[in-house]
Structure formats: structure tokens, C-alpha cells
Symmetry: C2
Subunit: 337 residues, 2 copies
């Protein structure tokens, strides 16, 4: 049962110069916009996630309380619900889907909240991972509109090492000849399986596995069982071209890729004037806390608050209650400022 709606944005000129016709953003809302139209929160999705992946952080009594806030969860381009290789017609279907950027996503999200809902101030933008990258992008693009940002387990620009991790995942998928340059008749199962297995080593921390939390907390009898029965199926559920489209967006993420900043990341970070709490996880292997520390030092109103977890990048996924509560508490603190 679909619990989302669509915003039809028409033909969209992308950052690359290409035009994506009949672009749609799938989104879900929680709560109601108040009369002053000042209670909106934007909470973009992470890699391979949908609005449902964000539901853990939303609820009565939580920081993202739908009885208080109007929470808009826009799906990222390429995720299979918003315009994606898998749901776009020729000549932009499959591997011909144009490259989209984090900036393209955020400009569409801005149109969604302004054109559809008449919102001209946003109380908070928050998100996990690529959702955090979209959060930074909101802060850099719309500093007058965004009051607060809380990116967790993400960065304003994809680091070179993070790019390399993603390149490994991509190469594993492309090693499967069944991918056929993106024009596959049936899903490239071996390639997606390899993609998933490569990704698995990065998603948690070394300590997570040393402490056997995969057994205790994910309920799997062995690493092999976990990979085969839980982790691989979660990626097999995705279209391969969609996975690669979102991956390309991630690899290119950079708030300074903007005429106003001309690739100058410190200048772009200085433009993020919103009150911010930036939350890396202490053990995140691809968005390590050092990167966040460097970015926070260049932001005028930002606090660094490191998630003290061994769950690595997955600390931001809402699976581990301690981490979820840590993030929730930070969001409450920030919303109270």
C-alpha cells in the first residue's frame, strides 16, 4: 500500500546541463503545517532508502513529533520511487538516465515545499548519510530559509576515500556481464550480490563484528547467514541502474560545486549559517568523525556531537536504540535553540 504522494516538477534542467523530462519526487508527510507555516521539517532519504527508512525517527514524543511539526520526507532521485532509471521512459531510461546531483535533489525538494505547501521557512533539515549530504546542501543553498540542520553520518563533500569505497562497490556490480551496460533483460544477480558483500564490510565497524553484535543484535547465526539471508536480499530488491545512479550522485556530492563557491569548500561551509549539530559516528568507516570535525570547524554556528557507538555508519540507521536515542536527543536540543 503506497503511503506516499508525488510532486510533478515538469521538465527539470539539471546541474549537468541535461534536462530530465516529467521529473517526479515521491514524498511522504507527517503532521500538519501550522497556520504560521513555520513548523516544517525536511528529512531526505539515504542511499537505497525510501521515506519508510526514515520512519523510525518520527513519532509522538520524538524530536520529529508529527503533533508539533510538519515533516516532509522527500525520496532521493534514483531510489525507484522518485524519478529513477527504473521508472523513466525512453530516451532517459535505464543507463541513459542523466547524472543527478545532491544539488538537483535539494532544488526539487525546495520546489516541493515552497510550491506545494507555501513554506518559506524550514525549522530543521536532517538526514542520515546521503540524507546528511542533502542536509548540508539545503544549508548551503538556502541559508535564509533554513533555521537548523542536523546531518548525521554524512559530509558536505564526499571524501576521496569514500569515493574509493563506492568505486569498489560499483566495480563489483560491473564485473557481472549480465549487467550488459545497464540494458539487462534480467537483474544481474551475481553483480548485485557482490555489490552487497563489498558494502557489508564498510557498513559497521571492526569492533561491531569483534563483539559479535551481528549475532546478538541482528539475530543471525553466522556472518555467512547474515549476508545470504538478510544483507544480499536488501540490495537484490533494488534495480541495478538505480543503485548506480544514486552511487554516482554520492560520489559527486559537494556543496561547493556551485557558481557561488566555485569549488571552495571552506567558503561553502562558511555560508551554512543555520544552527547546526553535526553527528558523525565515532566508528564510521566511510564518513569518519575526522571529516566532520574539519567541516564543523569551518561552519559559523555548528556543534560537533560524535555518536559514541560501535555500529559504524549504521549508527544512523535507527536499528540500534541507543544510537537512535542519541540522535533524537540532539534533534530535541537543536529544535529548542
Amino acid at each position: 500500500m503506497a503511503n506516499h504522494e508525488f510532486f510533478d516538477a515538469g521538465d527539470v534542467a539539471l546541474q549537468s546541463g541535461a534536462v530530465l523530462p516529467a521529473t517526479r519526487i515521491a514524498y511522504r508527510t507527517h503532521g500538519r503545517l501550522n497556520a504560521a507555516r513555520d513548523n516544517a521539517i525536511v528529512y531526505p532519504t539515504h542511499y537505497s532508502g525510501t521515506h519508510d527508512s526514515n520512519a523510525w525517527a518520527i513519532g509522538p514524543g520524538m524530536a520529529l513529533d508529527p503533533e508539533v511539526y510538519f515533516i516532509v520526507v522527500p525520496n532521493m532521485l534514483g531510489n525507484g520511487l522518485s524519478s529513477s532509471p527504473s521508472n523513466t521512459g525512453a530516451p532517459h531510461d535505464g543507463p541513459r538516465f542523466p547524472a543527478v546531483t545532491v544539488r538537483d535533489n535539494v532544488i526539487l525538494q525546495h520546489r516541493l515545499v515552497t510550491e506545494r505547501f507555501g513554506v518559506d521557512t524550514v525549522a530543521l533539515v536532517t538526514g542520515h548519510s546521503m540524507g546528511a549530504q542533502q542536509t548540508f546542501q539545503w544549508g548551503a543553498l538556502f541559508p535564509e530559509m533554513v533555521q537548523r540542520i542536523a546531518p548525521f553520518c554524512g559530509s558536505a563533500r564526499t571524501s576521496r576515500h569514500n569515493w574509493l569505497f563506492l568505486e569498489g562497490c560499483k566495480s563489483a556490480l560491473l564485473a557481472d556481464a549480465a549487467f550488459a551496460g545497464g540494458d539487462y533483460a534480467a537483474p544481474p544477480i551475481l553483480g548485485i550480490r557482490a555489490f552487497a558483500r563489498v558494502y557489508a564490510g564498510w557498513a559497521w565497524s571492526q569492533t561491531f563484528f569483534r563483539q559479535q553484535l551481528d549475532r546478538e543484535r541482528l539475530g543471525q547465526s553466522s556472518l555467512e547467514a547474515f549476508l545470504a539471508q538478510a544483507w544480499e536480499p536488501s540490495f537484490q530488491a533494488h534495480d541495478a541502474n538505480n543503485l548506480l545512479a544514486m552511487l554516482a550522485t554520492w560520489q559527486a556530492a559537494d556543496i561547493s560545486a556551485d557558481p557561488r563557491f566555485d569549488g571552495d569548500l571552506p567558503k561553502a561551509l562558511a555560508a551554512v549559517t543555520a544552527k547546526a549539530i553535526v553527528m558523525p559516528c565515532r566508528t564510521d568507516l566511510y564518513f569518519p568523525p575526522e571529516d566532520s570535525e574539519i567541516e564543523v570547524a569551518q561552519m559559523p554556528n555548528a556543534e560537533l556531537r560524535i555518536i559514541p557507538s560501535v555500529w559504524g555508519h549504521m549508527a544512523g540507521g535507527g536499528i540500534n536504540p541507543e544510537d537512535a536515542m542519541f540522535i533524537n536527543a540532539a534533534l530535541k536540543d537543536l529544535l529548542a535553540r
Copy 2:
């Protein structure tokens, strides 16, 4: 020009119960065995390396001084010089090559130094990565014979996270249908390329790439150039079955997999009575220093000495002079004890 010799070990009963016929160990020696036959050093090779990969640590004035010591560098089974899938005849050729363990390697190395050279005491065993795993294995198997061990960037047992990293590399190679279950007519180029790209994200640290040391120190214009022109070719030089055979040895590495220890790693570590300096690199992503710290705490005569480098696992590869000198100094300290 070959600079190595062979030790023919005949038909060898492996730890698995299988028999590998006409097993050969390729090795190189440096220096001369003294009259007392007490100046031998064993320095096994690392994953995908050969005796030449170890040459950086050997030389006049270095800790491993061939004017003082008799240094034996045995090549690991599966590396293409010692018995390997690529050089073994039917019915043990290619993917039919039996699984070999670190223990199998060390028992053969023990036969090499005792049967060929009449050595009954070893001044030092040292090695990088899987070479370190063989070093730990020497210490556990032959405590009366081994006076000192200096494993660097390695562990006594492959951690679960390390296993997972390797599983990702393996899956990337197996995603290439040209691998054909190991009976390929031509090398599975796409698969080995993917294997290399996956591996690249793990070999250094996040900080290494943040500081752009790949550009400054490896002399590459971009990450893509580095991958395509240097890193991939170094793996393309290897036979795919050989890469997988050594990987299986690595995934299964465990000094406690021995009837004396019955899987009890603390018991096995307690049996390593040699004077030891264990050197993880502070930023190693798959042999992290925490694992070494735990192992050292269970060894009776071991010192933990962390390599203070951002080169990650490659700190032990001899490329970075600071790290090479750090290791060399530790080896000198240990040999003086």
C-alpha cells in the same frame, strides 16, 4: 631472472586431510648460516607477494643484515612460485588445488630450514600481514625453536571483520562469469579489476587519502589514474585461482586451529613464549590495533608497538620510509634482547 631456489617436500598431508603431491616451496636466502647455526631468520611473504616483496627490509646496516644473519624468505603456497593452483598439475590444478592453511605453510617452512639447512634454532621470525600470521603460527607451533617474533600488520587469527572484507573482494572476482568456476580459458579481467578496486579502499587509511598522499607519495595524478595504471595491473599480474587460494588461507588463519589448543585462542597465544614485538599500524582498516592489543595481552613475552602512521595496512609494505624505519628499529631492539 630467477633469484630463488626450491625445496621439494614431496607429497604433503595438509591440515585439511587432503594430500598435495610433489609440493614445492620457493625461497630465497640472504647471508650465510654461521657455524653455530644460530643466526637464522625466517621472513615469510604476504598476500600476493613474493620473496622480492620482502627485500626492502633486508640489507647491510638494516636489522635484517645479511652480513650478520642468514635470512630465509619462503614464498607462501598459492603465490605462483611455491605450489599453487597455477603451477600444479591435474588433478590438483586450478580450482581443484586443495585448501591450505597458514599452519600448512609453516610446517613446510620448518621442514625447509631444518631438513635443508640443519637449523634448530631461529633467532627471529617476522613478516607483514599474512606474513605476520605465519609469524604468529611459528611462535605457536615451535615455541622451543623460535627465540623472537615480530609480526607487523597481522593477527594470530583472522578477525570476523577481516573475513568480511576478504569476502567482498572474493565476491567481486566471482561476479565475473569469465572466471568459469576457476576453469577460465583467459584471465577474468573484469573480475580481477573489481577485486583490485574493492581492495584499494581497504589498503590505506581514510586520512591517507584526505591528505592526498596517493598523489604526493605514490605519484599519481588522480585516484582513477592510480587505480587504472598502478593498482589494477599489480593484481592483473596474478592468476585468479592463486588470488583465491591465498585468500582462503587468510580467511581461515587461526593459530588455535590445532589439536593442542582446540580453538582456544587465549591458550594458543599463551603458548607463544618467544620474545615478541607486535606492530599493528594505528590506521590499519583490517588488522586494526585493537585486535593486536587484545592478542598481546594474552602473550607472555610480548610488547605492543603501534606504527604511528596514516598509511594504514600499507605501513608494513616498505613503501613509506618512515614506517620502514620504525619497523627496522623495532626489529633491531628485539634482536638485541
